[in-house]
Every structure is written in C-alpha cells, then in structure tokens.
C-alpha cells in the first residue's frame, strides 16, 4: 500500500468500528435484526445503490461527480420495457441493450466533460434533466409489465441461498476493488484526482481514463436498472429519482474525498452497509422514517468530523 493511502485507511478503520458498534446496538434493540434472513434481504434492497456507488467511487476519486445516475437508471428501465414490449426484441437482448444505453449515456457525460471541458457537476446536472426527460417522453407515462417468470430470478430469486443480485454486487465490488487498488488504471484514477495537470504531464491519458470511468458509471446504472425492474416487476419513468444523493452519501461516508485523489472501494462498501443497517435497524427498533433520515444525516457529519480530528492528531 502506498504512503498516500495510509492516513486514509484510518478512516475506514474508524468507520468499521462505528459499523460494528451500530450492529451491536441495533441487534440489542430488536432480536429480528441480526438474523441471516434479514441481513440477506437487506443486501437485496441495497444492490442498486451499491452498484452505482462502486462506479461513483471512481468518479469522485478523479475529483468529479455524476449526478445523472438516477436519471440514467430511469431511462434504462423505460428502454428495457420499450425494447422488449414495443419493439418485440427477445428479453435477454433487451436487457443487454438497456445496459448498453446506460453506457452510451455515461459516454455522453464523459465526452461533454472532457471534450468541452464542462465541469462534471454542471454537465451531469444538465444530463440529469435531459435523461429523466427522455425517460418521461419515451414512456409517455406508460408502465411496461408482464415479464416472464425467469426474469424475476435476477431481482427476486436466490442462488445458493443468497439473493441473486447480491452475487453480482459482490463480484463487481471485488472487481472494482482490484481495479482501483492494484492496477495501472486505478493509479491513474488517483493521479487525476490528486493533480490533474501533473497527471497529464506525467503521461497519464487523462481524458481516456475519465471517459472510461463515466461510461462505466452509466453501464452500472443500466445494470442497476435491469435489476431494479426485475425486483419490482414493472417499469416507470420516475424510477431512480434521488438515487444520486443516496449514492454520494454512501461514497462520501466511506471516506472518499470529494476533492478527489483519495478513497477506497472498501470504504464505500462499509459506508453502504452502515447506511443500510441504520435504515433497517432503526425501523425494527421502532424509529419512524423521518427520524431515520435525521440519524443518517448526523452520522454522515459526525463520521467525517471524527475522521478529520483523528487524522489531524496524526499529522
């Protein structure tokens, strides 16, 4: 592990301690919380957010942001239904095309950001409106329903006793962790976030890396859309509204610096699990939804505060 990452892993350690403490407290509040069935079920519910958060970690590590992911999710969900029902394509092909459209949407983001030098926040703010608008216009507010039973295996079924989509999330988490932590691509990602100009001068193909990352962000949003449709058995143009804030919260809670250059997939994974555990555990303990939102907001601020205090003592 490089020296640059070391102070940062401290955040993951703090977060992990926080997670363990939260699990203990929540398990003490309700005996239904710490059961295999509940935990696996929670994994099912957090898969879509989790998938998008993996790519978002890369995006934020480069110092960028992608606010359009929720809209891409909505657009891909709608197109899955349109490809299958209105164009009469076979469902597997429709699924593949829907994911690819997500990739194209991400590619467009990447091109706007690199070719026109539009700051990512503005570029994706604009495409957030555009992609959601396309979803609404294409769908004409119609839902597509009546998918065949095999399709629901993805979002509602199990594989070896574990929800199907959790396997996908686990696999992609592993891939993302390896790519970000151990490959040249990952090092390029950190280098761009730490100092883009310096990265450019030292020969990092900055634009190509960025385009690849935004395209990947769109692809996973498309994948999340397919899983989401399979989980809820219908498509609607308002699917995924507001997902971007949940995803960014998880990534930032996981210790990825919003200024770029720092962050790990492990951190994002812990951040995700912590938020989902709080949502679920507090509900089981009898806290209402509005109270839970308040707690998550407080945890976000306090976790980063604690991490800052510790790292300052360090240095």
């Amino acid at each position: 592990m490089t020296a640059a990452l070391r102070p940062f892993l401290r955040h993951e350690a703090i977060l992990f301690v926080l997670l363990v403490a939260a699990l203990f407290v929540l398990a003490g509040q309700s005996d239904r919380f710490f059961t295999i069935a509940n935990l696996l079920n929670q994994g099912r519910l957090m898969t879509e957010i989790g998938l998008v958060a993996l790519a978002m970690t890369f995006v934020i590590v480069t110092g960028g942001i992608d606010l359009s992911v929720g809209s891409i999710l909505g657009l891909c969900a709608i197109l899955l239904g349109v490809f299958w029902q209105n164009l009469g394509l076979p469902l597997p092909l429709a699924m593949g095309l829907a994911v690819l459209v997500g990739g194209v949407a991400g590619l467009v983001n990447g091109l706007i950001i690199t070719r026109f030098r539009v700051p990512p926040l503005i570029a994706t703010l604009a495409t957030l409106a555009l992609y959601r608008g396309l979803a609404e216009g294409i769908s004409q507010a119609r839902s597509v329903r009546g998918y065949p039973d095999w399709f629901f295996v993805l979002g509602q079924g199990d594989l070896a006793g574990v929800p199907t989509q959790l396997w996908i999330l686990g696999l992609l988490t592993l891939v993302a962790g390896v790519v970000l932590g151990m490959t040249a691509f990952g090092r390029a990602t950190y280098a761009i976030g730490a100092n883009e100009t310096a990265a450019r001068f030292s020969g990092v193909p900055v634009d190509r890396v960025k385009i690849a990352i935004y395209t990947a962000s769109g692809l996973v949003a498309g994948l999340a859309a397919v899983i989401f449709v399979s989980r809820v058995s219908t498509t609607r143009s308002d699917m995924g509204t507001g997902v971007e804030l949940d995803v960014i919260t998880a990534v930032v809670l996981g210790g990825t610096s919003i200024f770029g250059g720092r962050g790990t997939i492990i951190g994002t994974a812990i951040g995700l699990v912590l938020i989902q555990a709080l949502k679920n555990g507090l509900a089981l303990a009898g806290v209402k939804g509005d109270g839970t939102i308040v707690v998550i907001g407080l945890v976000l601020i306090l976790a980063i505060l604690a991490s800052n205090l510790f790292s300052r003592e360090d240095g």
Partner: protein, 326 residues
C-alpha cells in the same frame, strides 16, 4: 483572480470589456430576450403583463436564494441543503404568523435563523474541515426528516391579514420582483467593490494565495455561509407568503434548481469566478422556459427533455465562448 476583475488590455473597447467581463450574463440576457420575442410572436399573450408578472414574481424566491448560493460557490463551496432550509424556514415563519406573533417577527425570524444555521454550517466547513458538500448533505437529511417529525405534515392555514408580503405591490410591481432586483444589484455591487466581496473571490480562486496575503479564511467562510443564510431566509419568506397555505414538506428538487441557476449563470463550480447578476438572469431564464413550453404547446411528456437540452445548450455555448476568449 476573478473573470470579472481580470485585467483587460488598455486598447480594448468598452464593449469588448463588457463582453469579456459579463459574457455569460449577456448570453443569458440575449437568450431571455430572444425567447420572449419568439414566443411572444407565436402567442402574444406570453408577453401580457400578467404572464410576465407571474414569470418574474412566481420565481423570484429562486433567484434570491441563488444570490447566496452564488457567493457560496464562488468561495469554492456548495450548499445542497438549500431547498430543505427554505422549507423549514417557511414553516417557521408561518407557524409564528398563525401563533399570534407580530407579523414583522414572522418575517424576520426566518432571516435570523437562516443566518445562524448557515453560520453553523460554515463553522463546520471552516474549522472542522469537513467539505461543504458533506456538511450540507447531512443537513439536507436532518432538516428534511426533522421538519416532518415536528409538523407531522400538517399544512399551515389561516394566515393572518397583511402577512402575505409576496402578494403586495409597489408602483404596480409585485414585491418579490423588487426584492429580486434590489438584492441582486446590491449584492453585485457589493461583491465587486467591497473588500469582503473581493475576499470571497480570492478564497475561491486560490485559498493558499489568499491565506498568504493575510486573509483569515476560516472567518471569511463562516461569513459567506451566514450571508447566504440571510438570502435563504428572505427567499423562504417570499416562498411562504405566495399562497394562502404553507405546505409543510420540503419542495422537491429545489436545491437542484437553485444550484443550476447559479452555475448556468456563470458561477464556476471550481470557485473564484462568476457574478450574482448571472444567477438571477438564469433563474429568470428557467422560469421563462418553463412558461414558454406550455405556450408553445410542447407535449407535456417531452417538457423535461426539452428543458434539459436547453440547459445543456446554454452550458456548451458558455464553454465555447470561454475557449474563444482564451
């Protein structure tokens, strides 16, 4: 260095100086004028006094909030909790008004509380070194959840006579328009000519250089957020007094609207450049676009896609212009 204050070669004409200093503002102004002419020719009612009034007055609170937001963004920060705070302060104002407090208290309290809350946010950003997006993401959750916990979603009705300041008129012009115009001009002048205004540009443009030149960055950031709170408080009062009832939930996506107005208005998200005039013009442009799409009979299903395209076009036009000037 800010674009507005960038040194201009002496041989440039006055027009050239205006274009380079206020390029984005002029583009947006031109877009507003062009839109009004085109839609006005298509359907003259678009240019009727009542429609222009509703475009300007109905969205003035967004422009007022965008003034504060622009200052925050120019200082190199961001506030994603602005919509939630407006919702909370509007409910506070309405609760005081129906609770029998003098009306001026109901108007002043949101401003004071807005300043205090955002000064707290600024302190967390400046002294605890938590990035502003993190603090305000947290605040977004806390305010939104807290508001529903406290109000249980009940609407505020039976507002007293004389409370609805947003429905008042002065010389035939609705009060929100006055607020928008006066506050924008005052803030623009102040940003450009006061020492503190230049400080905001300096800490957004290059914090290290600002620190080296003796600026106390931490105090300045707290002050910027507090000033933003002042504008949010006024926006909340305008928002609360538009109708006879106050909805006690946070307006959906308001933060995105306000941030979009600021950045499309030419405030660089990287900090250091932009003006509040641009953000106000952008807020007006969006309101005019929203209204004109109905006048142009754009299918309601495609309305948001067209809006998104227009935002993207504005942004790309701006980037193209900047590259040419460089």
């Amino acid at each position: 260095m800010s674009a507005a204050a960038a040194p201009v070669p002496a041989r440039s004409s006055a027009l050239r100086r205006l274009v380079s200093g206020y390029g984005q503002e002029l583009i947006i102004l031109a877009a507003i004028v062009a839109l009004m002419i085109v839609v006005g020719l298509y359907n003259p009612r678009f240019m009727s006094q009542s429609n222009l009034t509703s475009i300007f007055a109905g969205n003035a609170y967004i422009a007022v909030a965008a003034i504060g937001m622009s200052m925050v963004i120019i200082s190199g920060n961001i506030d994603v909790a602005v919509g939630s705070l407006i919702g909370v302060l509007a409910v506070l104002s309405g609760t005081l008004a129906v609770g029998g407090y003098p009306i001026w208290v109901a108007w002043a309290a949101p401003v004071v509380v807005g300043i205090l809350v955002n000064a707290g946010v600024g302190a967390l950003v400046a002294y605890a070194r938590i990035p502003s997006i993190v603090v305000t993401l947290g605040m977004l959750s806390i305010l939104k959840g807290g508001l529903i916990s406290v109000t249980a979603g009940a609407w505020i009705t039976g507002l007293p006579e004389g409370y609805a300041i947003a429905q008042a008129r002065l010389f035939g012009v609705p009060a929100p328009v006055w607020f928008m115009v006066v506050l924008t001009i005052a803030a623009a002048w102040w940003m450009r000519n006061s020492g503190f205004g230049r400080t905001i540009y300096a800490i957004g443009g290059n914090p290290e250089a600002a620190r080296a030149s003796g600026i106390r960055i931490e105090r300045s950031i707290v002050a910027v957020f507090a000033i933003h709170g002042f504008f949010v408080g006024i926006a909340a009062v305008l928002f609360a007094t538009q109708l006879q009832v106050i909805q006690s939930t946070v307006p959906p996506n308001l933060e995105l609207t306000v941030i979009t107005a600021s950045v499309v208005g030419g405030v660089s998200i990287l900090g250091g450049t932009g003006t509040v005039i641009g953000s106000t013009l952008a807020a007006i442009l969006f309101a005019a676009i929203g209204s004109s799409l109905i006048f142009l009979n754009v299918s309601a299903y495609w309305l948001r896609a067209v809006q998104g395209l227009l935002i993207l076009a504005t942004v790309l036009a701006d980037m193209a212009r900047r590259h040419r000037i460089r």
